[in-house]
């Protein structure tokens, strides 16, 4: 049964996306329930797959029955099943959330929005599930193209940002494609498992080295790793709220997943660690990403733009975990893929809800938001504390493993960067919390004395469809922290390559 689920995960949203225009042509308001209903299926499938993988181990699905290496194979091991659950869960939550945001901000574009939304989700899940490097490229492009279009329907400045993203994103994709070409020339295969068998004798070949370099750069662009992140802030910031909430947590994480997949499955760890010193370079780039992202975030007055730079820094976290190339670091990186996805989704959902209710994203205009939107702000605060690394929220635990990893690798500066980043996050998020909870009203409103104002502020909470995903995400931040030990012992420790 679980084998069939592997196909359903891709096929259902793909086919369903083609039906969105039809449904929208008949009755526009049915698009939303359709998309939500459709996205439940991948979530159930991925959960069932994860369950199967946990009980019986890795399995694969041959598309149309063609045997690998000729046919396309979907490979489901602990790592891909784990990331699939994250992707399908967050996309469902964002879909639920999107109702009001799309109704109010994009009334004309409801149909294309939901069509592209499903395509984007299909692409992201395809990247994770496939066991074929070229098929991965196809899904990478499906997700990227739908993403460009989704960003371009955003606010003022979005077309320009999307255009920048297209240029740089296409270059990244080209690099990746070139890498595949080189590999194919050298080996004649595109199947990951097959490549992993063929490649080891060829590790000294210049072709393979060049292919590896292309892969690394291409994926670093896609993941928005410093200094290839320049497209990211504008694109994520100008996109519609529902789109940012989907791509900010998932796009960069999926690219990081591909990085782990290629470096530790297609290539063997000893190639990526010993033959090419790529991790030293990536690690230092990640440190710079953390520092640069933090500094830029400090300079922002716009909440969403601040978060976007935090995304840049968070990519650095994951890359550091990969770069220390030991079991603890990689555990931290994979754990952080999940934790960061949930935290970022929550923060972007909250930002969207605040924008929807108050019409502003300026941090200094958020005063008394705790009275207006208590639940939304409580969710924000919980997630913010998690970003700072306060236990028992989940951010603490990924940070703990990442730091253990850096200590084991003897990379003191990397550990220092992680610690500094917590402090920068503390400044960033407490600034917002101070404004929202404490900042007195602007003098213009406060002329009739301080005390009466407290009475006047009415509760004006975000709509139910927005609030539910936000609260679920915030609860997730705490629960994932408390149960992180369980998650590591039952999934992540098997997702880390066995050779560590």
């Amino acid at each position: 049964m679980a084998e069939q689920f592997a196909a359903l995960i891709i096929v259902v949203p793909l086919i369903a996306s083609l039906f969105v225009p039809v449904i929208g042509w008949w009755k526009k308001r049915l698009c939303y329930p359709w998309v939500v209903a459709v996205l439940i299926i991948p979530l159930i499938s991925s959960l069932s797959i994860l369950n199967t993988v946990m009980t019986t181990g890795k399995f694969s699905y041959r598309l149309a029955g063609w045997a690998p290496p000729w046919g396309i194979e979907y490979v489901l091991d602990h790592l891909s099943a784990f990331v699939l659950v994250i992707v399908s869960f967050i996309s469902l939550m964002v879909a639920i959330y999107s109702k009001k945001s799309v109704q109010d901000n994009l009334p004309e574009k409801t149909v294309p929005f939901y069509t592209l939304f499903l395509l984007l989700v299909t692409g992201l899940m395809g990247i994770v599930i496939t066991g074929d490097v070229f098929n991965l490229f196809v899904f990478l492009e499906i997700s990227a193209l739908s993403c460009y279009a989704l960003i371009a329907i955003g606010e003022e400045g979005a077309p320009m940002a999307a255009f920048n993203y297209i240029i740089i994103g296409t270059i990244g994709a080209c690099f990746y494609l070139l890498g595949i070409g080189y590999l194919y020339i050298a080996t004649g295969s595109l199947n990951m498992a097959d490549l992993a068998n063929i490649l080891p004798p060829l590790y000294d070949s210049k072709v393979i080295l060049v292919a590896f370099a292309f892969f690394t750069v291409g994926l670093a662009v896609k993941a928005g790793l410093f200094p290839m992140h320049t497209w990211l802030p504008d694109a994520y910031c100008t996109a519609p709220s529902a789109v940012s909430a989907l791509i900010a947590p998932l796009m960069t994480k999926v690219a990081a997943y591909v990085m782990i997949r290629l470096m530790f499955t297609v290539f063997q760890p000893h190639f990526s660690i010993e033959i090419v010193p790529v991790f030293t370079i990536l690690g230092w780039l990640a440190v710079m990403a953390i520092v640069w992202g933090g500094i830029k975030a400090l300079a922002q007055t716009d909440l969403k733009r601040m978060l976007v730079y935090v995304v840049v820094a968070e990519v650095g976290y994951i890359v550091i975990g990969v770069s220390v190339a030991n079991r603890l670091g990689l555990t931290g990186a994979i754990l952080h893929i999940m934790n960061d996805a949930v935290m970022m989704a929550c923060l972007f959902l909250v930002t969207g809800a605040i924008l929807y209710k108050t019409g502003t994203r300026e941090i200094h205009q958020l005063s008394h938001l705790n009275k207006k939107m208590p639940f939304t702000m409580a969710a924000f605060t919980i997630t913010a504390l998690s970003m700072v690394g306060i236990p028992p929220a989940c951010g603490f635990f990924s940070k703990w493993y990442l730091i253990l990893g850096t200590i084991e690798a003897g990379q003191w500066f990397w550990a220092a960067a992680l610690l500094c980043s917590s402090l920068i996050n503390a400044v960033l998020f407490f600034r917002v919390i101070e404004c929202a909870y404490l900042k007195p009203m602007e003098p213009a409103y406060a002329h009739d004395g301080g005390e009466t104002i407290h009475e006047e502020i009415q509760r004006d909470e975000a709509p139910f469809t927005m609030l539910v995903p936000i609260v679920i995400m915030a609860a997730g931040v705490i629960l994932l922290g408390i149960f992180s030990g369980k998650i590591i012992s039952s999934v992540i420790q098997f997702a880390v390559p066995a050779s560590f």
């Binding site: 700072v388 690394g389 703990w400 253990l404 992180s484």
Partner: protein, 498 residues
């Protein structure tokens, strides 16, 4: 050592966390119900904690594992005599503070009372979590929660001063948290365990002495920030902008003692007397603590703001506890650990008095207190008892701790520290006695009512009780809460192994 597995430690922690959410759900409209949650949680917490005392005194430990992350990496409670001592101090004083808080916030008609009681309950939850932690990781988890839970209380007034105090508080404590995280990760990397062990476990880590000293310094820095060890003390006087019950329970008992408790855990249960002796850092530690004691005493002399004066006295006393542990002798440890209890009861009394003066007479400065003893004899009488006690004069409990600390300095063959304790006692007299003299013997100021006119009973009764207890503990150190038995048991455990 016998181990008893029980979920009581977990309930002791959870009971106030549950109460916190009930407080939040009840809200301002039903404030009597909301306050009853606080009282019920405080009493329940104390009863749960206290029900475990007999077991501990039989020499057993109580253990409860919350969750295991990794081999050697788990959230676990293990209550030994030392942790129990801290748990009993914090939970018993929470009852007093709860009643006092109600009188205080209603007397002043404070805003955001729900948030206040919510944060208070969360603080107590994490304090008990700290007291019962079995290992450094669990300790760190609750320590960080405590940092965050205290923040809303520090900024409670939401004035510019309060917000700046809050920022300073976070800057100090979060930085300390980062340093701790790194140091603890390092220790885990070196030894594969984080469990506290009486007499220390770092001796077998195989680390070079440079690394060990660095780790020790990082840990003491991390915990010393909350303990107000100089030069990391600056946030504490600033945090006095918080409401007085907060200063009383958190900035004299729970938060700062959590820092001291952490330092003592590091000195006695992570590194251990043996290793610290070999490394020679105990003497440096002792000098830093002595510096803090003396300088804080002098700084206290210069403060006119009563709560700031008390804050410096707190810094002075906390350093005394750390000095007791750092001297590494039997008597000094006994004195240091018992002083955690004695100082808690005396200092909370002093802060309660400062709060009562603030609510009733609106007086915050030492120079305004002339003749106030005629108006508020109970408050100022309690103040006098606690102040005399802190100066180490019998029969108050401060004498017991001073006696053991001085003995310890002699046992360690370090006469200089005997002088430190003596100087500190002199300074205590110097900055407390003028207050007592002025309030009782000077001519009343114009705004002082010359007849009996006390603060609300909700405030006066708790402070009278804590003051009386400080006398009782001076005469019978083992009364009621069995602090002295627990202290000697803890010291026995540490020295028996080390």
């Amino acid at each position: 050592m016998d181990v008893l597995y029980s979920s009581r430690p977990l309930w002791a922690v959870l009971v106030s966390m549950i109460a916190a959410f009930l407080i939040l759900a009840t809200g301002e409209k039903n404030r009597n119900i909301r306050e009853s949650w606080t009282i019920m949680a405080a009493v329940a917490k104390f009863l749960i904690v206290f029900s475990m005392v007999p077991v501990i005194l039989q020499g057993k430990v109580i253990e409860y594992t919350i969750v295991t992350f990794y081999p050697g990496l788990l959230l676990q409670f293990r209550i030994d005599a030392f942790g129990m001592l801290f748990g009993v101090i914090a939970s018993s004083l929470w009852i007093a503070t709860s009643f006092y808080s109600i009188g205080y916030v209603r007397g002043l008609n404070e805003h955001a009372q729900t948030r206040y009681f919510f944060a208070f309950a969360m603080c107590l939850s994490s304090t008990i979590g700290i007291a019962f932690s079995a290992n450094l990781l669990t300790f760190l988890v609750f320590y960080e929660i405590l940092t965050i839970a205290t923040y809303p209380l520090v900024i409670h007034k939401e004035s510019k001063e309060g917000i700046m105090g809050g920022r300073k508080y976070l800057a100090y404590t979060l930085t300390a948290g980062c340093v701790l995280l790194f140091a603890i990760a390092m220790i885990y990397h070196m030894t594969g365990t984080l469990d506290f062990k009486a007499g220390g476990f770092m001796a077998d880590s195989g680390g070079s002495s440079a690394v060990l000293i660095m780790l020790f310094a990082m840990l003491i820095f991390g915990f010393g920030v909350k303990a107000g060890l100089m030069p990391m003390h600056e946030w504490l006087p600033t945090a006095m902008v918080a409401p007085t019950p907060v200063s009383a329970l958190l900035h004299a008992v729970a938060v700062v003692k959590a820092g001291v408790f952490g330092c003592l855990r590091v000195i006695l249960f992570v590194f251990g007397p043996g290793l610290l002796h070999d490394l020679g850092v105990w003497l440096i530690m002792a000098y830093i603590a002595s510096f803090t004691i003396v300088v804080a005493g002098f700084l206290a002399l210069g403060q006119d703001h009563l709560k700031r004066r008390l804050a410096f006295s707190t810094i002075n006393n906390l350093a005394m506890i750390i000095l007791g542990a750092a001297l590494l002798t039997k008597s000094s440890m006994t004195g240091g650990i018992i002083h955690m209890a004695n100082h808690a009861f005396m200092k909370i009394t002093l802060f309660f008095c400062a709060g009562a003066l603030h609510v009733k007479a609106h007086k915050d400065y030492v120079s305004q207190l002339d003749g106030i003893g005629r108006q508020m004899p109970l408050t100022m009488g309690a103040f006098a008892i606690a102040a005399i006690g802190l100066s180490g004069i019998p029969p108050m409990s401060g004498f017991i701790s001073k006696w053991f600390l001085c003995l310890g300095a002699l046992e360690a063959n370090q006469i200089i520290f005997l002088f430190v304790f003596m100087t500190s006692a002199m300074l205590d007299v110097a900055f407390f006695f003028p207050i007592i003299y002025n309030s009782f013997f000077k001519k009343p100021l114009d705004d002082v009512t010359p007849h009996f006119d006390e603060a609300p009973m909700f405030m006066v009764i708790p402070l009278v009780i804590t003051a009386l207890l400080s006398i009782v503990f001076g005469i019978v150190p083992d009364a009621f809460f069995r602090f002295f038995s627990m202290t000697s048991l803890a010291v026995q455990n540490i020295l028996g192994v080390g």
